[in-house]
Each structure stands twice: as C-alpha cells, then as structure tokens.
C-alpha cells in the first residue's frame, strides 16, 4: 500500500505533462481522489495495527530504502493529501487567467506531492536528502511560474538558500555515515553516542534544515518567495513545504538522538533553538505588522508561526516525560492546524487580491460586504493562527502552555501568551480595513469555488478545535515520542 502513495503522484506528474489540455482537469480530479483515498486507507491501517515497515524491492537496510509509516507520518500524509486536494480545486479555477502558468503548474504540483510523501515515509537519512532536494527543486520551479522579475528574483534567493541547506545536510549525513556506517534512523538511534563527531554532524544537519525551514535568522528568502508567488503556490509552500524540513529536524532530534539529547551540549542547543523560535515569533510578527502588501503580511505570519514549532525542542528535550509528551502533541497539533489555516489564509487572500487587482493592505477597503465569504474564510483561519478558541491553534497553544508549566519553563509560557497578542495585532489590521465603508477599488467578480475551497480548509482548522482528539490519538500510536511517553 505504501509505495502507491509515491507511485500515484509521480505517474500523474507525467500524465499532466503528456495529456492535452481538454482531459487535464478530469485526470487531476481522479488523481486527487485516488491520492486522498490511499492516504486515508493507510491511516486506517496504521491506526488499527500500528506502524508498518516496507523495504523497497525488499533490499534490507543499510543499503536498501526502507519506508516507515507510523502515526506521525500517516497524519502528515493525510494533512498533505487533504490540503493538496483543496489547493488543487482552488488552483483549477484560479489558474484560468494564467494560461501559460497552467501547463507547468500541474506537473510541479504532483512532483511536490510525491516528494512530500517520500519525506513523510522515508526511514533513513539519505532518502530524506533525496526527498528534500526534489521538494526544493519543485518548490523553486513553482515560484518561478509567473516569470516576472521579482518572482524570478525571489526564486533565485530561495534556490540558493535551499542548495546551501541541502549541502550542509549532506555534509552532516556524510559525517554520520563515516562515524557509524549506517543511515537508517532506528539503527542510528542505538549506535549514537555523545561525542564531538555526532554533535558536529547534528549541528550541520540542523543548520541545513533551519535554512530550509526559514527559521528566524535564515528566513530572508521566505517572504519574497511565498509573498510573490501565485496564491495556490504560496498556500502549498507555507502549509506543507516548510513543514517537511521541520519534520526531519524533529525526527533527528527527538527520534534519532532521543537517548543522547539530555547531554548538556544538546540540551543547551535545544534551548538555543527555542531562542531562535522566540526570535522568529517576535521578528515575524513585527514585520507582518509593518508589511504593506497583504501577501507579505501572511508570509511573515508564516515566519512567526514557525517560531512556535521551534518551541518543541526546548520543551521536549531534557524535561520530564509528561512535559515532553505534551510538547510533542502540542507541536504536532500546531503543525496540522497551521497547515490548514495558513493554506486557507493564502487562498482567501489570493482571491481578495485577484478581485481587487491591487495587493496593498489598504486596498482591501470595503471588502467585508462585497466578498464576504473569502473574508470570512480569512477570519476563521486567522482565529486558528491567533490561537483563539475554538480552533486547532488554540488546543495546540494550550498543550504547549501545559508543557511549559509542567517543565517550569515560565519564559516560554509568557512568550506563547504574548505571541498570541502580537498575531492578533497584525491580523486585525486586515479586518480593520475590510470593514471600512467605501471601497477604494471596484471589484471584479471571482468564481465561487475560490471562496468555498478556502472556507472548507478554514472550517477544518476550526473543527480541529473540537475534534483534535482524533489526530492526537493517532500520534499516540506512532513509533516514537518526544522523550518517550
């Protein structure tokens, strides 16, 4: 069952290149349904009888490629399948105006999906490297779609950052392989001992992944790339792509290095990651508050929200099992909720900008009664981003708060609460303008699928506020837990 998740997207990527325009939309829809079906079947399978191993072409480790599907990876697969489903429907009507981009968008879309599934299922470090690279190239390709100068400029910055990151990651992998002779994460987990080479390797891998996840000091490439790209592209990038490298970072720190991460060097490094996260939250929120373009605002909001994810490390490493468990669940729930909410936010903002024609925040005047559904979708997703109840974001923030309290790390507690307020500051900037009575631009009509797909994703983010028990119980059954629950 698992290889299907890789085969379908790759096959569909090729199909999209070959097929003529007329049959394209039908095949895409079929592919999407197949993809979601496969994801849900795998989730059910893992939920019923725990994690599954699958050796490609039954080559055993260390040479062969092993695919592991445990609770975490299955949750993330369903996340990417569902988000991809709605983004695809959105893109189909959004790209009608962009004839030229349409032809190249779909193959890249499927490659992206394939690489994502590859990363979620990968069991060893090198597979992750390959997945990362494919993901990076597909993402850069998508960013260049519009072909205008700023988009190309952003794409180049993104490409160089991605390349630098993956090389650092490869160097780290090389050192690890040199020292321990294997690249499979479970085996590495047992072999690792706390010596200088391991620290250097983990350091390099972390720097590489931080670059690719655009965490605070290395975030310079994200806003122009996500802000400048087409709406469906930036939705996919913000919701899924940056999460993949974070997921690998979490696996490295919490799964592979789980035995040795209470070592003083790694413990303080984890606190360092937390500080980077705090920097991301404060700097991202400040930049978002100042941003003139509404897409840049949402992009900087991504930078800020990724800061919350980084809090997983200080809260889960070197703390009691209870605190680590809570931190792990909180981070994962935040990842899911942010995935849905940010995709919905980018899509709704895309519709608004499409209708108005101008991208500045102040041009959104009078939107609330002309395009209410998109604004309502933006509102719902904003509720989850701000971490206000009843949303998935709130439950995630709640779990992180509980974990911070359980591990007596009050500074993260305060940061979480203040972070929520900062987010509210820049989100309500948009609301304030949208309620202004007289519109400054006349609005061109947009098709309703744009509104309703964004609304659906936002509704899922809000519904997770009530039903966050399902994904969390799924995470319970996953192979590894931060700090072993």
């Amino acid at each position: 069952m698992m290889p299907l998740l890789l085969i379908i997207p790759l096959a569909w990527a090729i199909l999209c290149i070959l097929l003529p325009q007329r049959w394209l939309s039908l095949t895409i829809r079929a592919g999407l349904l197949l993809q979601v079906g496969a994801a849900l079947l795998l989730t059910a399978d893992v939920y019923v009888n725990g994690p599954i191993e699958y050796a490609l072409g039954d080559w055993q480790a260390p040479l062969g490629i092993a695919l592991i599907a445990d609770g975490v990876s299955v949750t993330l697969i369903s996340l990417s399948a569902v988000v991809a489903l709605f983004v695809a429907f959105y893109a189909q009507s959004y790209l009608q105006r962009y004839e030229h981009e349409q032809t190249y968008f779909w193959p890249l879309f499927w490659f992206l999906l394939a690489s994502l599934n590859g990363i979620w299922l990968a069991g060893d470090l090198f597979n992750l490297y390959v997945g990362l690279e494919l993901l990076g190239l597909a993402a850069v390709g998508m960013v260049t779609l519009t072909g205008e100068k700023p988009a190309l400029h952003a794409a180049l910055r993104y490409l160089y950052a991605a390349l630098l990151g993956s090389l650092a990651y490869l160097a780290g992998v090389a050192i690890l392989y040199g020292a321990y002779g294997t690249l499979a994460i479970p085996q590495l987990g047992e072999l690792l001992d706390a010596n200088i080479t391991t620290f250097v390797a983990i350091g390099l891998i972390s720097i590489g992944l931080l670059l690719k996840t655009a965490i605070f000091p290395f975030h310079y490439w994200l806003p122009p790339a996500h802000g400048g790209a087409l709406a469906p592209v930036s939705a996919l990038l913000s919701a899924l792509v940056v999460k993949a490298s974070f997921y690998i970072l979490a696996r490295v720190w919490l799964d592979m290095a789980s035995e040795i991460n209470s070592h003083v060097v790694l413990y303080s490094a984890a606190q360092g990651l937390g500080v980077l996260g705090a920097g991301a939250i404060l700097w991202g929120s400040w930049q978002a508050y100042k941003a003139a373009q509404v897409k840049m605002l949402v992009a900087y909001s991504t930078v800020a929200q990724l800061g919350y994810l980084m809090l997983l490390f200080p809260l889960a490493i070197g703390t009691t099992a209870v605190a680590a468990g809570l931190a792990w669940q909180g981070a994962m729930l935040h990842l899911l909720a942010h995935g849905f909410a940010k995709a919905a936010m980018f899509m709704s903002v895309g519709t608004l900008v499409l209708a108005i024609g101008h991208g500045k925040v102040n041009d959104l005047a009078g939107v609330s009664h002309r395009i209410p559904i998109s604004l309502f979708a933006f509102g719902l997703s904003a509720v989850s981003i701000m971490g206000l109840p009843p949303s998935g974001g709130f439950n995630a923030k709640w779990l992180l708060l509980q974990s911070a309290m359980a591990s007596q790390q009050w500074w993260w507690f305060i940061l979480l609460v203040v972070g929520g307020l900062l987010t509210a500051a820049y989100v309500f900037r948009v609301f304030r303008i949208s309620f202004v009575e007289k519109a400054t631009h006349e609005f061109s009509s947009t098709s309703s699928t744009l509104d309703f797909t964004a609304l659906a994703l936002a509704a899922i983010a809000i519904a997770m506020g009530f039903f966050s028990q399902w994904p969390l119980s799924l995470l319970q059954s996953s192979g590894f837990q931060g700090g072993g629950l």
Binding site: I373, P389, W398, A424, F435, V436
Partner: protein, 505 residues
C-alpha cells in the same frame, strides 16, 4: 428521562443560533424576508428549548454534553440552575433584540453580515451560560469577543473603527490574562477542580499556605481577565467608546451578551470553582467588593458628566453591573440572591433603556440629552418605557430594580458589610441625579426646536411597529419582574433556588 435525549439538549441550544448564523451568512442581501423569518424562528426555537430545560432543572434532572476535546480535558456543556438563569435571560432578550434590530436596520446595508454575527454572538453567550468547566467557558468567552467585534464596527465609519480598535485592545488582552489564569489553574489543580460544581470545589483543600497563595493570585487573574468584559473600573474604557455601534448592538452588548458574560464569569468563578465559603476564608471577597463599590460610584459619577444619552447609559451600565459583583461578594444566601437576580433585572431594564435611546435616535434623530425636550408628548409609549427603566435603575418600587436593591441591601446587612449599603444608597441617589433630569425633560419641558432629523412620521403609533413593541414588552417585563417578584416563575424565585443550592454543602 432517557439519558440519550438530554445528552443533545445543550448542544442543540448552542447549535440553533450557530446554524442560523451560517445560513444567514450565506443568504444574499436581498432576501430580507427569509432572513427575518429565519432569525425569529431560531429565537423562538431556542426559547422553547430553554423553557423545556428550565422545567427539566426544576425537576432536579441534569442535561449534559461531554466529550474529550484535549487529552485529559472535556468539552462540557451542562444545564444547571445558574446556567439556566443566564441562558433564559439571553434567549428572551435575544428574541426582542432581533425584532428590534429588524425594525431598526430597515433599509440599511450589510444586514446579512450583521445578523450573521448577531446570532454568532448569541450562540457564544449560550455557550458561556451552559459551559460546565473553565476550558469550555474560555472557548465561548473568546468566541464572544470575535463575534462582537464586527458588530461594533458594523457602520464602517472612522469612529466605529477606532471604537473597534479600543474594544479589541481591551478584550484581547483580557482574554490573554484569562487564558494564562485558566492554563495555570489546570496545570496546578488538574481538570476535575476546574469543573463547575454546585458548591465549589475547594472546601476540602487543606490550608497549605503555598497553595492558597497560588489560589489568591489566580483568583485576581481571573477577576482581571473577566473584569474587562464586566467593565470593572480600570478596565471599563471600551464600553462608552463602543457606543458608536447601532442601538440593537449596544443594547445586546451592554444589557445581555458581553457585559453579563463577564459578570456571569465572576459568579461562576466565585461560586462554582472556589466555592463561596472557601473564597470567604481566603479573604479575596473583600477586595473584590471594594473594587465593585468603587466601580459603582465611579460609573455613576461619570454618567453625570455625559451629555450624550447613550454614553450616559453606558456609564450607568458600568456601575450597574458592579452591583452583581458586589452581590457576589456579600457572603450569605440573601446577598447571592441579590447579585443573581440583579443579573436578570439589569438585563431587562437596560435593554429597555437602550431600545428607547435607539427609538429616539432612529425616529427623531436625537442623540444628546438636551434635545430630548418635549419628547414625552411626541413619543408617549417610548417615554413611558424609558421612565419605567429609569425608575428601575434608581431602584424605585415597584420596578425590578427595587427588588434587587432590596436584596442586595439586606444581603449586605446580613453579611455585616454595612458600608456596602451606604454605597448602594449613594449610588441610588446618583442614579436619581442623572436620570431624573432626563425624565424632567421628557415630561415637563415643552419642545423647543424642531426635531434634529425626523425620519418616521407620527402615524397611528409614534414610530415603526417593530421598534415600538419590543420596547413596550421589555418595559412590561421589568415592571412584572418587580411586581410579581415573589411569584413562582419570577427571576427572584429562580435566583433563590440557585442560592439555596449554593449554600447546601
């Protein structure tokens, strides 16, 4: 009673207005008729269910919805006596406010958006009323902030946007403080202590000094978080500024939804989380009573200075809501009854006053008090309703206000806090000082200049039907609540039932 059936009752109550909100949002602006039918239908259905649940509670049964939302914490909606008090108030007043809003917003733009958020706001009020533990309460408390913001900025003018900004600044920071308090509470005392129990969860707790220190700190954080919505003095800044919103919004915000949610929260925390006896031992009630007293006097003094009618009513709300908080702090069953019954009475009376203010503004374009001369003759029914409401606020019998002041004062005497009676009396005199001049202008002054902008001519009745009859109805209610106070179905009897259960350990 089949347990299955009562499981879904609370959810249905909250669900009706949620569903209504979603459908109304989807309705295009033009379908005015379907929207009104839907609105009123939802209100009536909700009223019926609440009435049925009240009858259920009388029989001692409990309707409860519970499922695990976050590991270890339940999403709990439970209908107990206290929640029915607030739920009953909001559902009754929501029906009148909907009728009034339909009449008030005749022909104005974006009504779909307005009524959507309007029912969303009431759904969250229902949620607050029925919340069974602190976590669920927090969820609906924040939902209330989000759903009321668009109502405050409904007009879209610069002033209302500025008001919205202030409103957000206050309520969101209050929400953050409340989130911290609830998170700390759950962290320190676990989920079962956070569940609302009849007589509060803490009598049993041993007197560890460190624990009681934490409890005191948490108590004042709760009060700070809830105090923003309950408009306690330092945190009341948003209330007068939010007067820019249209009349049905300020009526709903100030009489039913937001302000009462804050006060109701404080009642929940004192009675059902800490327990009145434990709170008294902890010694936290006295500072809260002093804060409430300061708010009462400060609100009345400020109201004296206002020249705009709605601003004066806003400051009067600031002081009146603190009666409830004062009632809560009077350690003793009578004081509790006084506080709880005032929760209802103030709601009914203040809705009447705001409806009248809305009528004056909508029909004759009057916004300032000195333009009110001679309106008694032009709009007799509205002015009579305003007079009843005003006398209610002063506490002149036989209005409902008198009953609550009577119980608050007796409660204060019973609790030995005689200074509280002094505060009540002074505040009544201040109320007289700022309401009687208005009545004087209404009835005894001839009309000087023509009305600022008379929109609705004086046909058979003074103004639009939908504007007039809700006002008359709520005025009759405030008189009936006072006159038939001792009656079986009166708010007073219901408050006594609650307070008896609070003090029955």
């Amino acid at each position: 009673m089949m347990p299955e059936f009562t499981f879904w009752l609370p959810v249905v109550v909250v669900g009706t207005s949620l569903l209504a909100a979603l459908i109304i949002f989807a309705l295009p602006e033009a379908q005015q008729r379907t929207r009104s039918v839907l609105n009123i239908g939802a209100a009536v259905v909700k009223l019926a269910i609440v009435a049925y649940m009240v009858q259920l509670i009388m029989a001692g049964d409990i309707a409860e919805t519970r499922f695990e939302i976050v590991p270890g914490i339940d999403f709990l909606l439970r209908a107990d006596a206290l929640s029915m008090l607030f739920a009953g108030l909001s559902s009754v007043l929501w029906l009148f406010t909907t009728l009034y809003a339909i009449g008030y917003l005749e022909g104005s733009p974006h009504r779909s958006r307005f009524f959507g958020f309007f029912s969303l706001c009431v759904a969250s009020t229902m949620g607050i009323a029925l919340a069974g533990n602190l976590f669920t309460f927090l969820i609906f408390f924040e939902m209330l902030t989000l759903s009321t913001y668009p109502l405050v900025v409904h007009r879209g003018t610069e002033a209302s946007l500025k008001a919205g900004r202030t409103y957000l600044r206050y309520t969101l920071s209050g929400g953050a403080v409340l989130l911290t308090a609830v998170a700390l509470f759950y962290g320190l005392f676990g989920a079962e202590a956070a569940e609302f129990t009849e007589a509060g969860g803490f009598q049993t707790l041993g007197e560890g000094s460190e624990v009681s220190l934490w409890l005191t700190i948490l108590f004042f954080m709760f009060i700070a978080g809830l105090g923003v919505k309950a408009a306690l003095v330092p945190l009341h800044g948003w209330l007068p500024v939010a007067m820019v919103a249209p009349a049905p919004v300020s009526a709903l915000l100030h009489a039913v939804a937001v302000v009462k949610a804050g006060a109701f929260g404080i009642v929940r925390v004192v009675y059902n989380v800490y327990g009145i006896e434990f709170a008294w031992q902890l010694g936290v009630l006295l500072p809260l009573a002093i804060l409430a007293a300061i708010t009462i006097l400060w609100g009345s003094l400020q109201a004296l200075r206002q020249i705009e009618l709605k601003k004066r009513l806003a400051y009067s709300t600031v002081s009146q809501v603190s009666y409830i908080v004062l009632g809560v702090c009077l350690f003793g069953p009578i004081g509790t009854i006084g506080g709880l019954v005032h929760l209802l009475h103030q709601g009914i009376m203040k809705v009447t006053l705001f409806f009248c203010a809305g009528n004056y503004a909508e029909t004759l374009g009057i916004h300032r008090i000195d333009e009110l001369d001679g309106t008694g003759k032009r709009m007799p029914l509205t002015s009579i309703a305003f007079t009843i409401g005003a006398f209610g606020m002063i506490g002149v019998p036989p209005t409902a206000g008198f009953i609550s002041k009577w119980y608050l004062a007796s409660g204060a005497f019973a609790a030995g806090m005689n200074w509280a009676v002094l505060v009540l009396i002074i505040s009544s005199m201040l109320n007289a000082a700022y309401f009687l001049p208005i009545l004087y202008r209404l009835w005894f002054k001839p009309q000087k200049q023509p009305w600022p902008d008379e929109q609705i001519a004086a046909a058979r009745f003074e103004t639009h039907g939908l504007l007039l009859w809700p006002v008359v109805a709520t005025a009759v209610f405030s008189i009936a609540a006072g006159l038939f106070a001792a009656h079986a179905f009166s708010p007073l009897t219901w408050a006594t039932l609650i307070s008896v259960r609070e003090y029955l350990p």
